[in-house]
């Protein structure tokens, strides 16, 4: 998103690892755009966790005459196009109407996607019970019932369990009576590997001189080696200036990022060059387990450098050594732990009603409501973000505002309630947002200018009230705008003030405007924001992305925004906990 070439300051900062700014919450390490894009291109996206589903059922309807049913459960994931893809199936439990299946099914939890699951429970005929479960032809079995839900519905329950009633669509259409087919309970468990966070401090000695008149500026890149052979970068350290015996800050790695403790990792030491062409000073290949041994034995490992000898590469062993100063594993509360513990993500939305959108009644306006039902850009952005976030909000009441318009009989308002109320801004559910939006469109006159300050301050008030009453809530404000803001300093002031609150702001730019100026709000691309009084933003709470149409199959750009939300949330939570413990 935005600039592809990394600025020098951004290039020097450490990037990657899990919540790398863990102990230094306010240092605002600028992400390196180039590495970021590279990681995304390779499919390495955001926070994802391995979940195991265990299934059990109760009060299943008896299908057999002489004995009880022999049930099996099959799980499918349902794609956006409605196509079902089998995730896995359990074993067959003989002769039971209350089976607790032992087979666990693995699924990867992606925060930013709505993952639809469909469950079918069949009664397996006696003649098929001796053949392996995988080869069972399901269409030859008797369907007891089906149920469906989303993965977020299961993991947001405090018990991580969801019970659904089985239904049979074909039968219910024939008879009017609803016959009880049974209940299916799904329990989700996060794999223990996800919770372990490894902190590593690395040091090198006797690095070689690469620059002519000064010492090298070394930094490390840690990559994981996959089957295809190409290493995938996992994280990089900050750049140490002018140092041949550098010791870098802590690197935090999770098992997910590296695969497993025994997976080989490629650790490369580069000399930083501002032209982007960094020289390789040496490399070494070690797994996390081997790094742990190095630390325990207080040994160093020699780096080697592939050098050209004739037509081949030979690995020249260098004098430079790598030491592991610290290796410690800790169990951290994961994102799902916080959610299960009662933490909520509250969704808020603010919509741009400035005149630059065009007359809503004309088809070329960004606010045009298509009678055929095709959603406009604003509606699509609300749906994409809202559909994911709604599961994490228990009362599904979302504050919805508009800005830059003149409500009937009033002056221009830069933060008015979409529901038309004078007292409270909340609407019910995503449908509520849509209805309030369409009705507001015909009840206000679009005006201007585009100001974010009032909306951000309002969201910050709500977040601060939750903090003041010790509620475990994290707020996500979605601002959809078609233009560039005119109150840059005021917006910065509001953002600095809100930077220590449990709040993340996603700004989506729709339409064809040039959003270059907006990128200054996203600290990833520049300096930390500063207000008029000299206070600097504690953390980067803004993410900005221009809305683009996606071709089918591509990851939506808004989804990639959402993918970073769990990390922002965790950084906020962990830094508070770290300081409370110390």
């Amino acid at each position: 998103m935005g600039n592809c070439c990394s600025d020098v300051a951004g290039g020097r900062a450490a990037v990657g690892g899990t919540a790398a700014s863990h102990h230094d919450p306010a240092s605002g390490t600028a992400a390196n755009d180039a590495v970021d894009l590279f990681l995304k291109y390779r499919g390495y996206n955001g926070l994802f966790t391995q979940i195991e589903l265990s299934l059990s059922a109760s009060n299943l309807r008896d299908m057999d005459v002489l004995s009880k049913s022999d049930p099996i459960a099959v799980v499918y994931t349902k794609g956006k196009d409605g196509k079902l893809e089998e995730l896995g199936r359990t074993e067959v439990v003989l002769n039971s109407l209350n089976p607790a299946w032992i087979t666990k099914l693995s699924i990867t939890y992606h925060f930013e996607v709505v993952q639809n699951l469909v469950f079918y429970v069949y009664d397996v005929d006696t003649q098929f019970q001796s053949i392996p479960v995988k080869t069972l032809k399901l269409e030859e079995q008797q369907l007891i019932g089906e149920a469906s839900c989303t993965l977020s519905e299961i993991v947001t329950k405090p018990t991580h369990s969801l019970t659904l009633s089985l239904m049979n669509r074909k039968e219910s259409s024939k008879s009017n009576r609803s016959s009880h087919l049974g209940d299916l309970t799904i329990h989700a468990e996060e794999c223990i590997g996800s919770k372990i966070l490894t902190e590593v401090i690395l040091r090198c000695s006797d690095l070689e001189y690469k620059d002519l008149f000064s010492r090298s500026d070394p930094f490390l890149v840690i990559s994981k080696i996959v089957e295809s052979g190409n290493p995938i970068p996992v994280c990089k350290t900050e750049v140490k200036k002018n140092d041949l015996n550098p010791k870098w800050n802590s690197i935090f790695l999770s098992i997910q990022q590296v695969g497993s403790k025994d997976n080989p990792l490629l650790i490369e030491c580069f000399n930083f060059n501002s032209n982007g062409r960094h020289d390789l000073l040496g490399k070494v290949q070690k797994s996390l387990a081997e790094l742990e041994k190095l630390q325990y034995n207080k040994q160093g490992e020699c780096l080697f450098l592939p050098t050209v000898v004739g037509n081949n590469y030979q690995n020249k062993v260098l004098k430079s050594q790598l030491f592991v100063e610290k290796f410690s594993e800790s169990i951290h509360r994961t994102f799902l732990d916080y959610i299960a513990g009662g933490c909520e993500l509250n969704f808020m939305v603010a919509i741009d009603f400035t005149a630059s959108n065009g007359n809503p009644r004309l088809p070329d306006s960004l606010h045009y409501i298509d009678p055929s039902g095709r959603p406009n850009a604003y509606q699509r952005a609300i749906l994409e973000v809202g559909e994911v976030l709604q599961f994490y909000d228990s009362d599904k009441k979302f504050p919805a505002w508009g800005f830059g318009a003149r409500p009937i009989d009033g002056p221009v308002s830069h933060c008015f309630n979409l529901n038309g109320s004078n007292y409270q801004p909340e609407v019910e559910g995503i449908q509520g947002i849509m209805m309030a939006y369409t009705s507001a469109l015909y009840n206000v006159s679009l005006a201007g200018p585009t100001l974010f300050g009032p909306v951000i301050n309002n969201a910050a008030v709500i977040a601060s009230q939750a903090v003041a009453t010790s509620q475990q809530k994290y707020f996500v404000l979605l601002i959809i705008t078609d233009g560039v803001i005119t109150d840059l300093q005021e917006t910065k002031d509001a953002l600095v003030k809100a930077s220590d609150l449990p709040l993340s702001i996603l700004i989506v730019g729709v339409g064809g405007a040039d959003f270059k100026e907006m990128e200054v709000l996203d600290a990833d691309k520049g300096d930390r924001l500063e207000n008029y009084a000299g206070r600097v933003a504690t953390r980067d709470i803004v993410q900005f992305v221009p809305f683009r149409d996606v071709q089918s199959g591509e990851i939506s750009i808004v989804q990639s925004l959402l993918a970073e939300l769990p990390t922002q949330f965790l950084t906020y939570m962990w830094t508070r906990e770290a300081h409370l413990d110390s």
């Binding site: 919450p25 306010a26 240092s27 910050a460 008030v461 300093q489 002031d493 003030k497 000299g534 300081h579």
Partner: protein, 176 residues
Amino acid sequence: MKTLSRSIEITIISAEDLRIHGRPIKNNAFVAVQTASDATRSTSVDTTGGNYPSWNEMLELPLPREAQFVRVEVQCRTSSGTKAVAGAHVPVSDFAGGWIPDGYLTFLSYRLRKLNGERNGIINLSIRVKGKGDVASSMDGTYFSSSSSSSCGGGGGGGGVAIGVPVMWGKESRIN
């Protein structure tokens, strides 16, 4: 009438991009914090961070009722004594009063300025108020004053406090 005493626990986390005479400082920076003319504490010296030092050190200081700022100054221990590098004023309203509940841990960062007012890096810290007592200056319980978001300095719930950039800071004495 017993006066209630309040104190602050201020954790100096780190500082960024410190310079003396335009050049990055080498080492041995430390931070002095002052809440009243007789209440000053300092961190230990950072020997490895260069011009991006980190301390992660907690200091406890009393906070008088009438205090409106906490002064934070980065100094450098040189062979000839200590040299002031840059400083910042942390308004009490940024970490106490208003919507901030008692005992809440606030993470803050400030632009550091040299004695002559020039910008010189950023300091990162966290503050928590301990003990009970009223906050000085007219603080209301709202997040920000109900006036519209104007850009005049000193707005935002500070009551009568003006916050601005000192032009000639050299007049004030260095924290000893």
